[in-house]
Amino acid sequence: MSLANVSTHYISEKVARVRWLPEQLQQSERFVTGSWDMDRNFVRLWRLQANQYATATESDNVDQTPRCMDKVAMEDDVTAIEFVDNDTLAVSCADGHLSVLNVQRAVEEDQIQRMARSGRLHCFQRSQESAPCTDLSVYGTDIATAGEDGCVNIVSVANVRQVKRTIEADSMALFSICYVSQQELVTANRMGVIRLLDARVATEAQPKTTFTVASQDDKSSNFVSSLATHPMQQHILLCGSEEGSITVWDLRNLNYPASYLSAHQSPINEIGFHRKDPTKLFTAAEGGEVWMWSENKVLGGDSNKNGLSPWLSGDRVRSLVDVEGVLSNIRKAINSFDVHGSRLVCGGDTEAVYLVDHIA
């Protein structure tokens, strides 16, 4: 990690989500950010450009700086951004709507524009006020959104105005949602209860499969703030929680959690594997930390060979996985991160984006 090079860029916006634009063959140079808690919230498209102030003499030079290419004004706080394909992204908003945005790459000025906006997906039954949409997950062309009203809505990216299915999943606010497979979804609520949902059936026929995230102190609530599945072994579900710990579930065996790791001292805001390299996991925490967890190749053996992931190995996880800090001492929440190739971008309430080069 001594090679890692962190550069900080203040962008005058609190960042709720940040995502690299997907690139197949090369290192992505563009990313999008969504802001929250501002007078006007935007989804912005950034592109890395050579730093015009770079000097040859200084050693701690910043090679590239992001420049805002284009922006789309949103109605309310951005709560989640996810790419559906290479140019299309789904953005959920705190006013309960979902938007589909499109990016046009160009040589000079890239553009981003809104293609469609859904009807109000989430609202409180009694007051009929909009409920914030808290998270979204994408599988193929399906987008599932979760809201504070406890509902899950599934729409197709081609026609977001038509809701394919609404599931009243919970009587409590949902904080996170994640596709496990085409049909199966997991949702997590503020109490730390995780539900397995079937995307094909209505509310009444939903399987009543629930499990609770592990917690140090079972007398206090411990919400799940972020969910992620292993990119290759989709039955491995990782839950980042309020107390800063990670609970790993093997969805084939729901009797007890597969592993439990205490990690950060503050809520984990986002958890996710490296898109191309599933031996690496990243976590971003409210306390201003980003950590990288990498499988220890020597001790763990080749996980792909015996099909046993070190994440499922209970108390031994600690010895099979190495942890290192990518960013620390930011002091304010890191709300989101994304890794593409060897580059990590993250952002949060410091109103800055951090670019980390040469990750591992």
């Binding site: 203040y10 962008i11 005058s12 916006e13 609190k14 808690d37 501002m38 007078d39 706080d77 709560t79 705190a94 409180f124 039954q125 009694r126 007051s127 006020e129 914030p132 808290t134 504070e148 009203d149 406890g150 919970d170 009587s171 409590m172 606010a173 904080f175 503020r190 109490m191 209860v193 629930t210 609770t212 079972d218 007398k219 206090s220 609530s221 919400f223 703030s225 309020e242 503050s266 809520p267 409210e286 002091r331 304010k332 929440a333 309430d349 410091t350 109103e351 800055a352």
Partner: protein
């Protein structure tokens, strides 16, 4: 920024004008004032409604301090300086001077970056067309330009604290009059053609006065006549000008410099440059000729622009303490020559800095329209680097207290402006108890936009051990969910708040709703309460009852009846729930397969007599015999006392059955 143009505000509505346009105001949290019309009333005025009462609407105005930071571009100044501020706090009081200088430069680079962003944004069409915004940008550029200029000078004089100030002052002057440099670059690019340009000599003069000798030489060497002896001699003079460097013997330098000076003057007097009068003027400037400098002063825009250059040619080894005299002499001279020029506040502040009058400087700095960004951060830096400690001691200024109050004010301002609250914490955190108290007061005032934001606030409160704030936020959200009829959500927030009364109230509502309608609200939440139930006995009861309800629903009667008897014995059953609980026992007592033992049946009967009967009696005495509105209702029966006899009968039957089966059990 002057005392004279304090912003004023008048109401001027119908009601206010009637009473002579007087107004009254109340301070509101968040630097706001609520203003309304006012009529003076004393103890002797008659207490009667005015003739015009009720004719005009009463209007209340909210006046808010306008700040530059509404502009998104400027937020980065706040956010970035916040991070620098925190770094400085971590550095503490004992770091080396180099580290403080580095941080001071970081602050300045923040302002410079922001100035650049502002200039860029100002040119954009969306700002150019919006007049109000354009004015705001111009204001902001002025304010931050001044802040950077002053900070830079302050850094040179008081933080770096070098014995040699002239080279740094030259840098300072050069940065703050960048036009000359730009024009010089043009000249350089034009090469030989430059000699014909109209303002060739005036640019060269201003360059010399800014002390930029290298560039002047380069331009001169490109002149068409560069080969002539006059130019060659000038080049030689400029090239041979001794420059003092740190560590050089001062005495030796002085004699060198003296020699060079006399030599140059002599050359000018011999008429070496008579053929090139313009060039001669430049060299006269270099020798510090008063006539020439006076002429130059008359041309100059700003009084401090050429002071460093003048020092370079007249007093190159000027010490910081000598600067004071040099600066005031210069200022007097300038005013004598340019009496019509009024002194701007930035010039006044520069004078104060050079005059070592920090106290007045700080006073003036607070008048900059930047919501005290400049003064707060500068004072904090002064406090940390400790350079001026003796000055403040001599002048009886309590620097730590001053810093404390500035930071406190600034932090509170950030906390109360609606989306800067996250930045305020760092400032208030270093204000000890007052800061803690301010956070405690201001944190719950932040509007809760979403639950995610609420959890962020809770996390911040928890880090600081502010249990009360955490509880308050949870309670507000619980109440809000309750009003929205989202009982599961309300229950969870109540559990989070750890407030016994609130949890009990929500659990009560759910139980009462069940006994009235037979519908269990938010079963998914209750099912997962788990270990959290022990916050309130009512919640324990609710969870356990729900467990019973589930057993019963899944037809596991043995477990259900065991749990029911436990519940009856537990002494946590709320009064209003007795009828429902006992009615629940009925089908179990009457069921075909016996599920309740004799001993337990007796216990049930006991509860009927000791709990239910007194309740009914109390009810009767309160509402009369044929009461229809009882407090205790169950959806399964019209009138509670009907069930009494049924219960007694069921118990008797089950008891009889149980006694027989239990006593005829084969002895093992």
């Amino acid at each position: 920024m002057d005392d004279s143009n304090v912003p004023s505000f008048e109401l001027g509505d119908a009601l206010a004008t009637r009473c002579g346009n007087t107004l009254t105001g109340v301070f509101l949290p968040g630097s706001r004032i609520a203003l309304s019309a006012y009529r003076h009333v004393t103890h002797s005025s008659r207490d009667a409604p005015t003739e015009t009462a009720g004719q005009d609407p009463v209007l209340v105005y909210l006046a808010q301090e306008s700040t530059l930071f509404d502009e998104p571009v400027l937020r980065s100044v706040l956010a970035e300086s916040n991070a620098t501020f925190a770094t400085l706090q971590q550095l503490g009081l004992r770091a080396t001077r180099a580290e403080y200088v580095k941080l001071s430069r970081v602050y300045r680079s923040i302002v410079r970056a922001c100035l650049e962003k502002l200039e860029q944004a100002k040119k954009s069409p969306e700002v150019q067309t919006d007049e109000a915004r354009l004015r705001r940008f111009t204001d902001a550029i002025m304010v931050f330009y001044a802040a950077e200029c002053l900070w830079h000078l302050f850094e040179i004089l008081y933080i770096q604290n070098n014995q040699l100030v002239v080279p740094q002052l030259l840098d300072w002057a050069r940065f703050h009059s960048s036009q000359a440099e730009d024009r010089a670059t043009d000249l350089l690019l034009m090469a030989e053609e430059a000699s014909e340009s109209d303002n060739y000599w005036s640019i060269l003069k201003s360059l010399i006065m800014l002390g930029v000798i290298d560039v002047t030489r380069a331009i001169l060497s490109q002149n068409r006549k560069a080969g002539q002896p006059a130019f060659k001699a000038a080049e030689l003079i400029l090239k041979s000008m001794p420059v003092y460097q740190e560590g050089y013997a001062l005495q030796k330098f002085h004699s060198q410099w003296e020699y060079w000076h006399v030599d140059t003057e002599r050359k000018i007097q011999t008429g070496l440059f008579a053929t090139e009068p313009e060039l001669e003027q430049i060299l006269r400037l270099v020798t510090g000729n008063n006539e020439q400098w006076d002429a130059a002063i008359k041309e100059s825009k700003d009084c401090y622009e050429y002071l460093p250059g003048y020092l370079l040619f007249t007093k190159p080894t000027c010490k910081p303490f000598e600067l004071r005299i040099a600066a005031s002499n210069w200022l007097n001279r300038w005013h004598l020559l340019r009496p019509e020029k009024e002194q701007t506040s930035i010039n006044r502040m520069i004078a104060q800095l050079m005059d070592h009058d920090i106290r007045l400087f700080i006073y003036e700095a607070q008048k900059l329209n930047d919501t005290h960004w400049f003064s707060t951060h500068l004072i904090d830096l002064i406090h940390h680097c400790g350079q001026l400690k003796s000055y403040f001691d001599q002048n009886n200024i309590d620097l730590p207290a001053l810093r404390h109050s500035m930071i406190y004010e600034y932090g509170s301002y950030l906390m109360t402006s609606h989306n800067l609250w996250q930045l305020g914490f760092d400032y208030l955190d270093c204000c000890k108890q007052e800061g803690q108290a301010a956070i405690e007061l201001l944190l719950p005032r932040i509007t809760l936009r979403s639950e995610r934001q609420a959890t962020k606030l809770i996390n911040l409160a928890r880090q600081r051990g502010l249990k009360g704030v955490e509880q308050e936020i949870c309670k507000v959200l619980s109440k809000r969910s309750y009003d929205a009829e989202r009982y599961g959500n309300a229950l969870e927030w109540a559990i989070r708040s750890k407030d016994l009364l609130l949890v009990t109230a929500v659990a009560d509502f759910i139980l009462k709703h069940y006994s009235r309608t037979g519908n269990m609200l938010c079963p998914d939440t209750i099912a997962n309460v788990g270990g959290r139930m022990f916050i309130s006995p009512r919640l324990v009861f609710l969870s356990k009852y729900y467990e019973f309800y589930e057993f019963y629903r899944t037809r596991d009667f043995m477990s259900a009846s065991e749990l029911l008897v436990n519940l009856l014995q537990s002494r946590i059953t709320p009064d209003y729930f007795w009828p429902s609980l006992l009615i629940d026992a009925m089908p179990l007592l009457e069921s075909k397969d016996q599920t309740i033992l004799a001993k337990e049946t007796v216990a049930i009967l006991h509860h009927v007599e000791t709990e239910l009967v007194p309740i009914i009696e109390r009810d009767v005495s309160k509402y009369g015999k044929h009461h229809t509105e009882t407090v205790f209702k169950d959806y399964r029966v019209e009138n509670v006392d009907e069930i009494l006899n049924l219960m007694r009968l069921a118990c008797a039957r089950n008891l009889a059955r149980a006694l027989i089966t239990e006593n005829t059990m084969p002895v093992a």
